[in-house]
């Protein structure tokens, strides 16, 4: 994951990426941290994403799925 920007996550495009960066989640690993902090709970993470940057159901689902797969593979 390294220093990839938050827009490299699935479901996070330009608009959402900018909103997340405004809130301080400027790197992918920060969002990963939030994901892990919420104990990889799908409902909580997706709700958080919706509240933070206004992601819709599909975007939040994609982002969650992406992070989960990454964790399953590397964590």
């Amino acid at each position: 994951m390294g220093e990839k920007p938050v827009g490299s996550l699935a479901g996070i495009g330009e608009v959402l990426g900018k909103k997340l960066e405004e809130r301080g989640f400027d790197k992918a690993y920060v969002v990963l941290g939030q994901f892990l902090g919420l104990k990889k709970d799908e409902d909580l993470f997706r709700e958080w994403l919706k509240d933070t940057c206004g992601a819709n159901a599909k975007q939040s689902r994609d982002c969650f799925g992406c992070l989960r797969e990454w964790c399953d593979a590397f964590l």
Partner: protein, 453 residues
């Protein structure tokens, strides 16, 4: 809720059975919302519980539980509509179809067929949850009701018979109510349902066994056979002391015919008894059921004082008659039909006369073998079923062993790729090199979702 500190928020969440992660600036709102949601659900569950308890002690309980049993098909769509809003009430839905306070004794009572109109309200939600099981019960019990004789108070499969039996159902209800204890809920409803089931099954078994016994006795009786008199027997015919050997007027002819018939009757009896003896233990050590002609002739000559000519006339008469007289004339070649008296070698009775004991034992043996055959067939089919189930289970296990649990596995396997996402974790380098981008891209998870670019 806004005034809750992080620790208090955490404690509240844990009290409601939820384990939160770290509560930071970013996660605080999320957990606050979660707490709000959990509190709402808990409140709904308590409300339902209180409502059910209050209702369970009311005298209306009898009538109110009727719609749970009745479950006519028409109310199903309405009940379904009522089910969706109640789906959120986790408490009642998670405890399963029997997990309701004040639940009635068992759904079996419903299969007795009560046609109470379904009433609206939360009761119907539970009714619909139990609906499928009750439908199955309804379908099954009519079949069994048809099978079992004498169970007049089981409603027949037609719905029209249900209303009359509703009264009967109401009568049995006080008895059921007495057996029921208070509002305990899931655990108590299950054993009661089981007890009811047991009672019904035992009753069914009783009637089925009685019916089978009757059938068995009937078969025995038929097999024993009613002693059938020979068709031409004229027992009370006595020969008048008139010499009719050579005269051929009508009266004499009639008397001659009578004498012939009497001879035939004696012959028939003799052959039948011989055949019966042969079948039942053979005390006289006969070679076969077929009695040689000479022996028969000798016997007849002893019993009736008739000349041999009459014997031959009798045989001719048998040959010429189309009716089944119960005596078979066998020639040298058993498969060939005899046409003349000369060819007859032996006589056999078509209806051997056996003793009562012999008949009974033979009938019993036949019946038992038939029943055994039936059971063997059943056992064979059952063995087949078990084998198939075992095979099927093995296949499933194999599949699981290859793939691991998960819905996507079957799809991945079909495309010829193993699910890459299940790779073991890789050790990270202590000093991540500066060329991670190219590296990561090649080892990143390619799980069908656009990952890191």
């Amino acid at each position: 809720m806004a005034g809750l500190s992080d620790l208090e928020l955490r404690r509240e969440l844990q009290a409601l059975g939820f384990q939160p992660g770290p509560i930071t600036d970013t996660t605080r709102n999320v957990y606050r919302n979660k707490l709000r949601r959990l509190r709402g659900e808990a409140r709904l569950r308590d409300d339902e519980r209180r409502r059910d308890e209050a209702r369970s002690w009311s005298p209306e309980r009898l009538r109110e539980e009727a719609p749970l049993r009745a479950r006519p098909a028409a109310s199903f769509p309405r009940a379904e509509a009522g089910l969706s809003p109640s789906a959120s009430s986790a408490g009642s839905s998670t405890s399963g179809p029997y997990g309701d306070f004040g639940a009635p004794a068992s759904p079996w009572a419903g299969s007795r067929g009560l046609a109470f109109p379904a009433r609206p309200g939360p009761l119907r939600r539970r009714a619909s949850v139990r609906g499928s099981s009750e439908d199955d019960d309804d379908a099954r019990t009519p079949d069994r009701a048809a099978a079992g004789p004498g169970r007049h108070w089981w409603a027949p499969s037609s719905a029209s018979a249900r209303p009359p039996s509703a009264l009967l159902g109401a009568d049995t209800r006080p008895g059921l109510k007495a057996s029921r204890t208070g509002a305990a809920g899931a655990v108590r409803a299950r054993p009661e349902a089981g007890r009811r089931l047991e009672r019904c099954l035992s009753r069914l078994l009783l009637w089925a066994s009685l019916g089978l016994l009757l059938v068995f006795l009937g078969i025995l009786w038929v097999k024993m056979g009613k002693p059938s008199a020979p068709q031409e027997a004229e027992d009370n015919m006595k020969l008048l002391p008139v010499d009719c050997e050579r005269q051929t007027d009508e009266f004499c002819q009639a008397k001659q015919k009578a004498a012939l018939l009497e001879l035939l009757h004696e012959l028939y009896n003799f052959l039948a008894i011989q055949a019966g003896n042969f079948e039942c233990g053979n005390p006289e050590k006969l070679k076969s059921k077929c009695i040689p002609v000479l022996e028969a002739q000798e016997y007849i000559a002893n019993v009736t004082s008739s000349p041999s000519a009459r014997f031959e006339a009798a045989l001719t008469w048998i040959l010429s008659s189309n009716k089944d007289v119960g005596i078979w004339l066998k020639g040298e070649d058993p498969s060939e039909l005899v046409t003349t008296v000369d060819k007859v070698v032996c006589l056999e009775s078509a209806r051997p006369r056996m003793g009562v004991g012999c008949r009974l034992s033979r009938a019993l043996l036949t019946a038992v073998t038939h029943v055994l055959i039936f059971f063997w067939c059943l056992a064979f089919l059952w063995g087949l079923l078990i084998l198939l189930k075992y095979r099927w289970r093995k296949l499933e296990e194999e599949e699981q062993a290859i793939c691991g649990p998960g819905p996507l596995c079957g799809l991945g396997a079909g495309h010829g790729t193993l699910p890459i996402c299940g790779h073991p974790p890789r050790a990270r380098h202590p000093n991540p090199p500066t060329e991670p981008a190219a590296n990561e891209a090649s080892v990143g998870p390619s799980c069908g979702i656009p990952g890191f670019q």
